[in-house]
């Protein structure tokens, strides 16, 4: 089912009652999520992504704007009439019920014509359990299951009603690193198998990038950029998006443009035709550095960290705004020694210019 958010806004009264101004959690958000897609809502904590999810779910009412599922306006509908399944960050599995009872719980709420017989209940629950591959744990209680298994039960419980929309709130944040990798593949597989339109919220860009059909990057309640993970990474619209996506983080320098050339410090590092003379913020992705004895950018070498396939060069530069520069290079291109200086050439496609004040991208 297609989900359309139209000028969605949510304001809260300030928690401190003395401050009369309202807090805007989500501001004028308009996105369209095509049928059957997996969408990641991505942003730092407090950016309004969970509020957005809760509004799609119906647990919170928007201050203004509309929400459509398909062609139906569901803005005024309570959650149970929207046909959504929700997986909570804490999983919210009822601890006193077995996995089977947890999965059957939503079905037992059906009344009247939709009421299911005992055998139908069992069959539906087992079908959902098979989908998430937890058949053998059905008679365990949540306390007797691992985090990953609980997560699967929570997904099964959300799917058992066959909802049109599946919502996941930070689905992987309670899992350890290895399980997180496994589970995100699992979520992807389940989503593909069921073809259900899914929205999930995360603050982990890697998680969002790896499984989403497209991502929505948010900051302070405002959508910054929407697009396919790779294209958002390759073509960020502003400094926030550039900084938020990618590990290690993008390296940010102070720079100037003079006569079509980009200067970092005193060195001209790149031709930027068509950009007027001005001060700029320069972002260079870690993989944008190429070590070269005659390179254009000279940095003080701090350390070289070998990570097997790649090597991370840690360096410093007077014009650098962060803590330390990190360049990721192939291990066979590793510069010799440590201490002293290291020189780099830059890959043009990995260098972005931003306005110094607004952070907006300057294209060249």
């Amino acid at each position: 089912m297609k989900i359309v958010l139209e000028n969605l806004t949510k304001k809260y009264p300030n928690q401190n009652r003395k401050i009369k101004t309202e807090v805007t959690a989500v501001s004028d958000m308009s996105i369209e999520i095509p049928d059957g897609q997996l969408v990641g809502l991505l942003g730092p904590s407090g950016c309004g992504k969970s509020t957005t999810l809760n509004m799609i779910c119906g647990l919170e009412k928007p201050t203004s704007g509309r929400i459509y599922f398909g062609d139906t306006d569901v803005t005024e509908l309570p959650p149970e009439e929207r046909g959504v399944g929700m997986v909570f960050q804490s999983y919210a599995l009822y601890p006193h019920l077995t996995a089977r009872q947890n999965i059957m719980f939503p079905l037992q709420n059906f009344r009247g014509e939709k009421k299911l017989s005992r055998s139908e209940l069992e069959a539906r629950a087992e079908e959902a359990a098979r989908l998430v591959q937890i058949e053998q744990f059905l008679d365990r209680k949540p306390g007797q299951m691992s985090g990953g298994q609980q997560q699967r039960v929570a997904i099964a419980r959300a799917l058992v009603k066959m909802p049109g929309v599946l919502l996941l709130d930070e689905p992987l944040s309670n899992l350890d690193a290895r399980l997180r990798l496994q589970t995100r593949e699992e979520i992807r597989r389940i989503q593909r198998e069921t073809g259900i339109t899914s929205v999930f919220v995360t603050h982990d860009q890697e998680e969002a990038m790896s499984i989403s059909d497209f991502i929505v990057v948010m900051d302070t309640g405002v959508v910054q950029q929407i697009g396919k993970p790779q294209s958002v990474y390759d073509d960020p619209v502003n400094l926030f998006v550039a900084k938020f996506l990618g590990t290690p983080q993008i390296n940010v320098f102070d720079g100037t443009v003079k006569a079509g050339k980009l200067f970092i410090g005193d060195e001209a590092v790149l031709d930027v035709p068509g950009v007027p003379d001005r001060d700029v913020t320069v972002g260079i992705r870690p993989e944008g550095f190429v070590p070269d004895e005659n390179g254009v950018l000279t940095c003080n070498l701090h350390a070289i960290e070998v990570m097997g396939r790649d090597t991370s060069v840690v360096a410093a530069h007077p014009a650098f705004t962060g803590h330390e520069i990190r360049a990721i290079i192939r291990s066979d291109e590793r510069p010799e020694g440590s201490g002293g200086t290291v020189r780099f050439n830059l890959k043009e496609k990995k260098v972005y210019l931003f306005d110094k004040d607004s952070g907006e991208r300057i294209r060249f």
Binding site: C57, G58, L59, P78, P79, E80, E81, V84, G85, M86, F88, Q89, S90, A92, Y94, P95, H96, F105, P106, Q108, N109, G143, R157, K161
Partner: protein
């Protein structure tokens, strides 16, 4: 054996000494008294050992009356007070405006002196030459005749007793239950809401199981507290409880020790041990039932 194995015992010694002097020894002493026949407290003598004290107590009409009163009190007040406390707590938990005020109001009886509360109940229920009592005025307004709640028929006195007991034990139960309700993860309710769970089913299938350890705790302590009822009865009916026909088991024990007919520590001990046996049995039954119905997480 580790050569340091005496050390833990050394650390436990102060506690063990106090427990021994003030709990184990008296308990043992009570058991001794209860089987010493014809014990004389003045001369510290007795002339035999046997179960006569028990058979005397169990045939004493005053004890049987006290036993009956106590059981009625327990059976009526424990379920009712727990149920009412649950209702009020759920109510308190779901209102927003003035929540703190209501919580304070409901907690006030807990910090009020038993005898002062008893006095208030006297004013509410007692018939004097000048007034019928406040409650009788209300009943009279609906056309029913005045009832003497303090010195009248047994059911009226029992009603006052139960009413009073429930009112006195409510605040503590409400306090425990509101905090138990507040500690239930709100995600459970959100999940239930998304699934369209009716309020009744949410309460029975989610809320109640989640707070069941606390409800169970309140039932156990409620049973024990009600079986030990005494001061509340005195506050309403005065010290001559046998004459009022409103004695309780603990009241009977007290009377046997210090009352007008007192001076019989052997009978008192026997009665106390009978009470102990009853409470122990009830608690064991409770524990057995709880295995199926209480969910610890």
């Amino acid at each position: 054996m580790d050569k340091n194995s005496w050390k833990p015992w050394l650390y436990l010694l102060p506690a063990l000494v106090f427990l021994g002097i003030f709990m184990v020894y008296p308990l043992f002493d009570v058991m001794m008294y209860s089987v010493e026949e014809g014990y004389n407290s003045a001369s510290q003598t007795f002339y035999g050992v046997g179960k006569y004290n028990y058979s005397y107590v169990l045939r004493d009409p005053y004890f049987l009356q006290a036993l009956k009163n106590t059981f009625i009190l327990v059976i009526i007040t424990v379920p009712l007070s727990t149920g009412i406390a649950l209702l009020i707590s759920v109510g308190l938990n779901s209102i927003k405006p003035l929540k703190e005020l209501y919580q304070t109001v409901y907690f006030l009886p807990y910090v009020t002196n038993t005898l002062a509360v008893g006095l208030v109940f006297m004013i509410l229920f007692k018939k004097t030459p000048y007034s019928e009592g406040f409650v009788n005025q209300i009943i009279g307004f609906f056309g029913a005749g005045p009832v003497d709640f303090i010195e009248g028929p047994y059911w009226a006195k029992m009603f006052v007793m139960c009413f009073y007991t429930i009112w006195v034990v409510l605040p503590f139960k409400i306090l425990i239950l509101t905090s138990a309700l507040a500690s239930v993860n709100p995600d459970y309710y959100k999940a239930a809401k998304v699934d369209g769970t009716s309020p009744g089913r949410t309460f029975l299938r989610i809320t109640l199981p989640m707070i069941s350890p606390m409800v169970f705790y309140l039932i156990i302590t409620g049973f024990i507290g009600a079986f030990k009822a005494y001061s509340d009865v005195v506050a309403i009916f005065g010290t001559d409880l046998n004459a009022a026909g409103m004695n309780t088991i603990v009241g009977y024990v007290y009377d046997m020790l210090y009352g007008d007919s007192g001076g019989y520590p052997s009978y008192a001990s026997a009665a106390a041990l009978i009470l102990f046996a009853i409470v122990l049995t009830i608690t064991c039954i409770n524990l057995l039932i709880s295995r199926k119905t209480v969910h610890y997480t």
